[in-house]
């Protein structure tokens, strides 16, 4: 089959690789119909994530048709499914608590050592996201093997086209959980750093959860326009000083909850980023400019939600502000499986629409160009969806 493979920094290619096969009883094989490039794929593209091997198949936002099922899979051939990027066994202590992204079993034993060393305890398996999270082949391909297929994939009813449901795989539940982690109360103002897909979906989710106001922070005019169209007030950090603007806009109190939807690759030539550049060892120190700012900006006793991806160490975290203001921090990879059913329902009822995000549609064969565009034109390119079926036309 054809698949998008990683070969190094800013080097991804379409390769012909062996088709996936069933290995374990609970496996299923999915023929991909739509797959997307995620903002967190850019962390791989930029080589910020350790333990990537040449030839790894990327992609963790995908959906398609079930074509093969293992003996203990509950899926049936022909069903259309969206697959969560988090692989979860459904049986361990964590899965029973619905903390699916903490699954104790989905990361293969010999791969789990890495994250045990890096984080203290082994992380769950993820699709297409380095060997630290299992080394599983991803879904930017024609086919993918889905382990524990009786737990993750959600069956999509006929009549809901791919583009309406594809983002259930990651960014929609991620934005939703980011807002949920804000524990929004009536009257609350939520400030969101980063108007990429997760940031935009967290804005949408925050309003659905009853936020009084949402303030969106970014520097890309088009992305800020999208945020505005969803009802958010906007702050362009190229034009104004963010913390002063937030203090002004919130009458001196500060936002009740803050969301860092940026993560480890924050932009900007600020003093603290220079500091990081000096102290950064390869793969060691994450750029934490946004994390510092959200902690400083949050009101006393407020909530800090971090859906943005971090992988290593943080330098100069304002721990004093965090403690003295009594902030609550909630973060983590998304427990996707927990949110699939309610979010699918809301999509079906028309309460959530995610299709506005898609700016570009390409044949899978042009995935490398998709990565380049997404990386270099972040203002215009908000989401790239890849279609393997269009391949023959492209070839």
């Amino acid at each position: 089959m054809r698949a998008l493979t990683w070969h190094g920094k800013h080097d991804v290619r379409m390769d012909t690789v062996p088709d996936p096969r069933l290995v374990n009883p609970r496996d299923a094989i999915i023929r991909i119909t739509s797959t997307a490039i995620c903002g967190s794929d850019l962390h791989l593209y930029d080589s910020y994530i350790p333990s990537m091997h040449r030839g790894d198949i990327l992609g963790h936002e995908f959906m398609g048709e079930v074509v093969e099922t293992g003996l203990k899979s509950t899926l049936q051939k022909g069903q259309r499914v969206v697959v969560p990027f988090v692989i979860a066994c459904g049986k361990c202590f964590f899965c029973e608590k619905e903390q699916f992204s903490a699954c104790d079993n989905s990361n293969p034993a010999e791969k789990a050592d890495l994250s045990e060393v890096a984080y203290g305890y082994a992380m769950s398996g993820l699709f297409g996201y380095s060997h630290m999270t299992g080394g599983y082949a991803g879904g930017q391909a024609e086919y993918v093997r889905v382990p524990y297929s009786d737990v993750g994939p959600i069956v999509i009813p006929d009549g809901l086209e791919d583009e309406k449901v594809l983002f259930l795989s990651d960014i929609l539940p991620t934005g939703w959980m980011a807002a949920e982690n804000c524990e929004i109360e009536p009257g609350d103002t939520v400030a969101v750093w980063g108007c990429g897909p997760v940031g935009l979906f967290s804005i949408q989710s925050a309003f659905l959860m009853g936020a009084h106001r949402v303030i969106a922070i970014d520097h890309y005019p088009h992305r800020l326009e999208l945020a505005k169209s969803m009802g958010a007030e906007i702050v362009n950090y190229h034009d104004v000083k963010v913390r002063e603007a937030l203090t002004e806009m919130t009458g001196g109190i500060g936002p009740d909850a803050v969301i860092d939807a940026v993560g480890m690759e924050s932009h900007g030539f600020t003093i603290d980023n220079v500091l990081d550049a000096v102290t950064t060892t390869k793969l060691g120190t994450d750029r934490t400019h946004v994390l510092r700012e959200v902690i400083m900006a949050c009101r006393k006793g407020g909530r800090v939600s971090i859906p943005g991806v971090y992988g290593g160490m943080g330098d100069k975290i304002p721990i004093g502000a965090l403690m003295q203001k009594g902030l609550q921090v909630r973060t983590g990879q998304t427990h996707v499986q927990r949110y699939l059913r309610p979010l699918l329902e809301m999509i079906g009822e028309g309460r959530i629409d995610t299709t506005f995000l898609i700016s570009h549609r390409l044949p899978l064969e042009q995935a490398p160009e998709g990565y380049k565009m997404f990386k270099e034109q972040q203002n215009e390119v908000t989401k790239v969806v890849l279609k393997p079926e269009w391949q023959k036309d492209a070839a």
């Binding site: 996936p20 374990n24 790894d56 202590f93 293969p108 080394g135």
Partner: protein
């Protein structure tokens, strides 16, 4: 393991950690067994299943090859004994017979190799209840005599490089198998080509 500090460590609230961090535990083990040297690996894991079920699976030694990476087979000729065939580097295998030295249903299984083993070793697996509703804690302690000679060096590469890593991987696989019914893998045939 008889010296005073080892005893104290074993009486502590974290006996495994305390014991494996005691420098002379390996020497103690070697002295006790009458070996030249000993390597010790210990690890505990929580498994979301009743301990009686975990004990029963482990008690049938033939099952061990299902989750122990290097174990080719364990066969049982008669009650209480087992014959182990373990893969070694360069396509070789090492073998030994073991005999059960302690067996308390749903609580503990211990065994040691008998005379003539390619690698002298002993093992002890304890099963106890975790907090109510949270399954069981399985604790494994493996002690073995690193073999000498050139072949021994090869074996050492396999077993001694990081016995703790080996132990934790085996116990992870055991947990996966007991909880999910399968062992998680991203290996071929589905893995990406390397090159």
């Amino acid at each position: 393991m008889s010296s005073e500090n080892v005893e104290r460590a074993l009486q502590s609230d974290a006996p495994l950690t305390a014991a494996v961090h005691q420098r002379d535990v390996a020497k103690e083990a070697a002295d006790t067994q009458g070996w030249n040297a000993a390597a010790v690996a210990g690890r505990s894991v929580t498994v979301n299943r009743p301990r009686a079920e975990l004990y029963a699976f482990w008690r049938d030694f033939r099952n061990l090859a299902a989750f122990m990476e290097n174990v080719e087979s364990v066969t049982s000729r008669d009650e209480g004994t087992a014959h182990w065939v373990v893969r070694a580097p360069a396509g070789q295998t090492v073998e030994w017979d073991s005999v059960i030295t302690e067996d308390v249903p749903a609580q503990v299984i211990a065994w040691e190799s008998v005379e003539g083993a390619d690698i002298k070793n002993s093992g002890r697996i304890e099963f106890r209840d975790a907090a109510p509703g949270r399954g069981a804690v399985v604790t494994a302690i493996i002690v073995y005599e690193p073999p000498g000679g050139d072949f021994g060096k090869l074996i050492a590469k396999l077993f001694q490089k990081e016995p703790k890593i080996q132990a934790r991987r085996e116990l992870r696989r055991f947990k996966q198998l007991m909880e999910t019914g399968e062992i998680s893998t991203s290996q071929a045939p589905d893995a990406a080509p390397r090159g």
